[in-house]
Assembly symmetry: C2
Homo-oligomer: 361 residues x 2
């Protein structure tokens, strides 16, 4: 099935290579210069678009570049300039919807600023894995690092973060030592919980994210505080793992409990799992039980019923990361620890309603 074309060197148009050397060397400026009959300096000038080159010479150089398929060698350029025009991103494998959106925004913002992204995936949320990733990145050619991951891990990696390399962290509590960009989890969870309370629910049950997650912790704390502030009872926390399956498991238990009329899940996937359990148990959403999620993933409004959820602006988070990082890169002295908060808001859809009248369950 594999078609092999008749063997000819990948470099075509330059049959000048000595027959002995089978090793393939990429064309360099010197090669272009030789072909065009100029110095490599002139080639450099052409490549960098300097004005002080004769139009005639420029054309000749351009033609030569084209002929031998010249591409600037960024390693040499980086070696010379000390800049790599690359930003390293550390994040978990199989990351959540939100992380992917953030990564996307980071990549776009970086591209706009002329930076590339080097991705270092971390398979497991262990300290060693994170430390290894940071080290690999430090040896990589990067001008700065964005870390997108659960923050509890960061408690100890600061010893490992290489000296002098600008770092921005997403959703972390390390604001005292690092530049962090954080979503307003607290306000989001408050909005969600209060919305349910305002609808008339006696209390709100909560499916939390994993204990290891900083964001999850903040949402849970805010949910609890909102309940307390309203004088509502605080049900036991149900811990999930961000996946729909874990929401489903808790949802099965919740569905069996007639007391439950409102559930706030810490992300949309778990909310989806809860709704599935509710459907299976024949408990109507939202007539009997209201459900609120967190994230506002793209599919949330196609869920059944369309999910009321807390919208996170991942794009803004990504853009801010790059903005902060570039600022640090441009002026290394201006190290600015501190946290920038990106607001959240509640998106009302069809999964919430007032509780059923008492005695009707």
């Amino acid at each position: 099935m594999a078609t092999i074309s008749p063997g000819d060197s990948a470099v075509s148009g330059v049959p000048v290579a000595p027959p002995t050397r089978s090793v393939q060397r990429l064309p360099s400026m010197a090669d272009v210069a030789a072909l065009a009959g100029v110095s490599s300096q002139t080639v450099s000038r052409v490549v960098n678009g300097r004005s002080n080159v004769d139009a005639d010479t420029r054309d000749r150089v351009l033609a030569a570049m084209d002929e031998i398929g010249y591409r600037p060698n960024s390693a040499a350029r980086a070696l010379k300039s000390g800049k790599f025009s690359t930003i390293g991103v550390i994040m978990f494998t199989l990351s959540s919807f939100g992380n992917m959106r953030t990564l996307d925004a980071v990549a776009m913002a970086a591209a706009e600023a002329g930076y590339s992204i080097t991705l270092i995936p971390v398979a497991l949320p262990t300290q060693g894995a994170v430390a290894g990733a940071v080290n690999r990145l430090a040896e990589q050619a990067v001008d700065g690092i964005v870390i997108i991951m659960e923050a509890h891990m960061l408690d100890r990696i600061d010893v490992t973060v290489p000296t002098g390399l600008p770092v921005v962290i997403v959703d972390s509590d390390a604001g005292a030592r690092y530049t962090v960009v954080d979503t307003d989890q607290t306000e989001g969870a408050r909005l969600a919980t209060q919305h349910l309370l305002d609808l008339g629910h006696k209390t709100v049950w909560h499916i939390a994210g994993p204990e290891s997650s900083f964001s999850a912790g903040r949402r849970t704390a805010s949910w609890r505080n909102t309940l307390k502030a309203a004088g509502a009872p605080v049900p036991p926390v149900l811990e999930g793992d961000w996946n729909a399956a874990s929401g489903y498991v808790h949802g099965v238990a919740l569905a069996a409990n007639p007391e439950v009329t409102a559930v706030f899940a810490s992300n949309d996937q778990m909310a989806l799992g809860v709704m599935r359990a509710l459907h299976e148990a024949g408990r109507s959403v939202p007539a009997e039980v209201s459900v609120v999620g967190f994230d506002d993933m793209r599919e949330a409004d196609a869920f059944w019923p369309p999910l009321t959820t807390v919208h996170q602006d991942f794009g803004q988070v990504g853009r801010l990361c790059i903005e902060k990082l570039l600022r640090q890169i441009d002026s290394p002295s201006a190290s600015v620890p501190g946290t920038t908060i990106v607001p959240t808001h509640l998106v009302l859809r069809a999964s919430t309603a007032p509780p059923p009248p008492p005695g009707l369950a």
Copy 2:
């Protein structure tokens, strides 16, 4: 709102810098060598774990490295070796679930092989944007390129793919010229369609992906062929854009048509949109209308009802990409155009059932 903590330089523990030079230069091998009282050559040997270094000397060098926080400069290393240990990945922004999974697998496989990933996002599926991305990548320090995107775009970029740089393309019809790794879209779509037919449905309606997508085209063609082979009527193709919203729009029309008893959507999101429309119209899934998706995204089994869909092994695709690419990188002469097919299979869940008995609608 942003908390700025008292300004102190990010560089701590190294107050050795000469007061005159405010420019921050990363420590080099020469610095380590000077401190350890050896030549930089010896430092190089230590860094590369060569055996012919005295244990004593090695310790001294190690200590010096530690003291000044030395990190090898990968640009210099790449310049010398001609290898970058980096693979470039070109893919669309806001990519689909599948692309993200593929990226994840590519990144993991690359990491295992000691390669980093440089991500080049492409905002728009225009030819210019793709060409620009390829060029940026070519100027980047990469040893090879993986292209993850809709394939119709590739018809014309081959002129732009830089000479001699190994390339692997995912889900493309360019197998004659490039190494491509493709999922068995045809078999997947056939399985989905045939499953519905086997259930007793007279025909199957189809929500296709965008016309520009190669994968979508293959799924649609296979759906049509399967219908024809079974002697079933072929309804008009409904074209969506991969998003749940477009599935919903077509779903509304489908729900209003009592003839419709089976729908095959070209991805899970659109299937979700269809189901939402069906629910809203009071048409029961699967009792009245069966729905099948494609992808088997992680949430699919938490949809209501849990979605029967075609499973794609994105992880395998990613792993194969790296495997093929590394083979090309290691032996540049072995250019192997050809397509490797990754199988798909149908995952039966609860969104499909036999059609309602005639005259009962």
